[in-house]
């Protein structure tokens, strides 16, 4: 049954990735500014050169043709060439992915450690004062713009992972805290506590396993949140990662680069969420 589930997920994953790439190509192509090149505004360029610039952009006009040819080349390992940077997309992603992976892993680990420690402590203590304090801390970070957190990490000379952690932590904390708090109202938890079971045992043996599938779902979406946070953090901190590349690609309407980055992000998101689902099912021990 589990194998069938994994196979099903794999099929959905492939189909979603392919569809994601096509939809992103369509979104980019249809958005205004696709044909625009800043170079056109150079007063030294004569009319022929400006028209040649425009003609070069026309090559990717037909989304179907572009995507079909892209899929064909991608199947042979050629991911295309970035219009903005003039380099092979494969090289760009290969060189920058490790930094982003490192940033995301450390950022997510820090965010989850902070969020879970605070949420578990809140669940254990169940004191309104503690709740208010932790809500204040998480609420403050939720209200600070990502750009400011990124700038603070440069100001204090700390890693960009900390900025990502501070962006993701309030979301994770809030969901975790609410889910844990809700669990304490369930009949079997009330019964366990009434029967004198220790708070620690109640929390770690009964409450946490009960909300594990939901927490795993939060873990899955926290990966997407971290990926989204990586863009302003890398752009502002001058970190040469995939996030910075995505921002440059968006500004330049760099279709080959954007499609590849979307496919990469879709893959990461799907893997994270599918992984969370599969583990969640294993924990629940039942069919969905």
């Amino acid at each position: 049954m589990l194998r069938a589930k994994i196979a099903g997920h794999a099929l959905v994953l492939v189909a979603t990735v392919v569809l994601g790439g096509f939809l992103s190509a369509t979104l980019v192509r249809l958005a205004p500014g696709f044909d625009a090149d800043e170079q056109q505004l150079d007063p030294h360029l004569n009319t022929e050169s400006v028209q040649a610039l425009r003609a070069a952009r026309q090559l990717d006009h037909n989304v179907w043709r572009f995507y079909f040819s892209y899929m064909n080349r991608a199947a042979h390992g050629d991911l295309g060439t970035s219009l903005a940077l003039g380099q092979p997309v494969r090289t760009l992603l290969r060189d920058r992915a490790p930094l982003t992976l490192r940033l995301l892993s450390v950022g997510l680990a820090l965010a989850w450690m902070a969020a879970l420690s605070l949420a578990l402590t809140a669940a254990w203590l169940r004191r309104s004062t503690y709740d208010v304090l932790t809500t204040l801390v998480s609420g403050t970070f939720l209200c600070i713009p990502a750009a400011v957190l990124a700038l603070l990490s440069v100001l204090w000379n700390v890693t960009g992972s900390l900025a990502i952690a501070l962006i993701v932590f309030p979301h994770v904390y809030r969901y975790a805290r609410n889910l844990l708090a809700k669990s304490y109202t369930l009949p079997h938890i009330i019964t366990a506590r009434a029967r004198g079971l220790g708070e620690g045992r109640v929390l770690f043996w009964h409450v946490v396993p009960g909300v594990a599938p939901q927490l795993l779902a939060v873990a899955g979406v926290s990966v997407s949140m971290a990926v989204g946070a990586a863009i302003p953090v890398e752009a502002l901190c001058g970190l040469a990662g995939v996030g910075q590349l995505a921002w440059q690609a968006a500004l330049a309407r760099d279709l080959p680069l954007l499609v590849n980055i979307t496919i990469l992000v879709t893959l990461v998101t799907l893997l994270a969420n599918c992984g969370a689902d599969v583990i969640g099912h294993m924990v629940r021990g039942q069919d969905s």
Binding site: G8, V12, A15, L19, G20, L23, S24, L27, V28, L30, A31, P32, G33, S128, D131, V132, T135, L136, G139, T140, L142, C143, I144, P145, A146, A147, V148, L151, L155, P170, H171, R174, Y175, N178, L179, A181, K182, G210, P213, Q214, L216, A217, G220, V221, S224, A250, L258, T262, V265, T266, T269, L270, N273, A276, D277, G280, R284, Q286, D287, S288
Partner: protein, 269 residues
């Protein structure tokens, strides 16, 4: 209501009244430019100083509260309702429905919606009122911001399908619709409250960031998000601490919402 909730209510009421009474409370209009006193520190004339082009910051915070305090919760409510329907239903139905819904959700999470927003701006005429522009922005944010909660709601609803009380209710012959609304939905509230609470400041900040696409609030209308963007230009934390007032206000309002929501959770429990 406990003390904290009463305090939260009072704070929200004060902030709301202040924004409604901005015309009387504000020392000047939000657009009035005191060009001889740009970037001024707080003084008797300008309680929170002036911005880079000499507009009174206190007045701008008051008027900005109207925009942000009304529209951000509305957009947050929209995204929460959408998450409830899509995630909640999908999890409840399970099987192929859940799989499809989650695949669509994951796709939604991955796509570069920036370009949809750029297209939305292109479709709007250039001469729209600032209020219309910001309403469209928050509407778009609400329509796009449901994905995170939907995933968690799907997992939660999926867990609930196999609980004793749901099985008993199903065995008792309760219809699917009744089962969902009476037994499943109330148990999704923790996630829904979390989604609502998180969305308010996230949407306020996103609205300001969307200014680069021509969306969001248009000059000279202020919003909390546009006021918070001033913090980005600070090269040290200590200088001009009065610029932190919009951040403090936002934190206080967000805290107040959370305290009220936590009260609702206790009532539900």
């Amino acid at each position: 209501m406990n003390l904290w909730q009463k305090l939260a209510c009072a704070v929200l009421a004060v902030v709301l009244c202040a924004s409604v009474a901005a015309n009387w409370l504000a020392p000047a209009g939000y657009a009035k430019q005191y060009r001889e006193a740009t970037n001024a520190p707080p003084s008797r004339t300008h309680w929170l100083g002036t911005d880079e082009i000499g507009r009174d910051r206190f007045a701008r915070i008051l008027y900005g509260t109207r925009v942000s305090l009304l529209l951000a919760p509305a957009a947050a409510l929209l995204s929460t309702v959408m998450a409830a329907f899509i995630g909640g239903f999908a999890g409840y139905l399970g099987g192929i429905w859940a799989r499809m819904a989650m695949a669509v959700t994951d796709l939604f999470l991955s796509l570069p919606w920036l370009f949809l927003l750029i297209t939305a701006r292109a479709l709007m005429p250039l001469n729209v009122s600032p209020l219309f522009s910001v309403m469209v922005t928050f509407l778009l944010l609400g329509l796009l911001g449901w994905t995170t909660a939907a995933r968690v709601l799907c997992a939660t609803a999926g867990s609930l399908r196999s609980t004793d009380f749901v099985c008993q209710a199903r065995a008792a012959g309760l219809s699917k619709r009744r089962l969902f609304w009476i037994h499943v939905m109330p148990n999704l509230k923790p996630v829904l409250y979390a989604q609502f609470w998180i969305s308010i400041p996230v949407f306020i900040l996103s609205e300001a960031n969307l200014g680069i696409l021509g969306l969001g609030v248009a000059e000279p209308l202020p919003s909390w998000g546009s006021l918070l963007k001033e913090l980005e230009g600070m090269v040290s934390v200590g200088e001009e601490p009065w610029k932190f007032v919009p951040l403090i206000l936002l934190v206080v309002v967000v805290m107040s919402f959370q305290l009220l929501l936590s009260g609702q959770e206790q009532v539900a429990a």
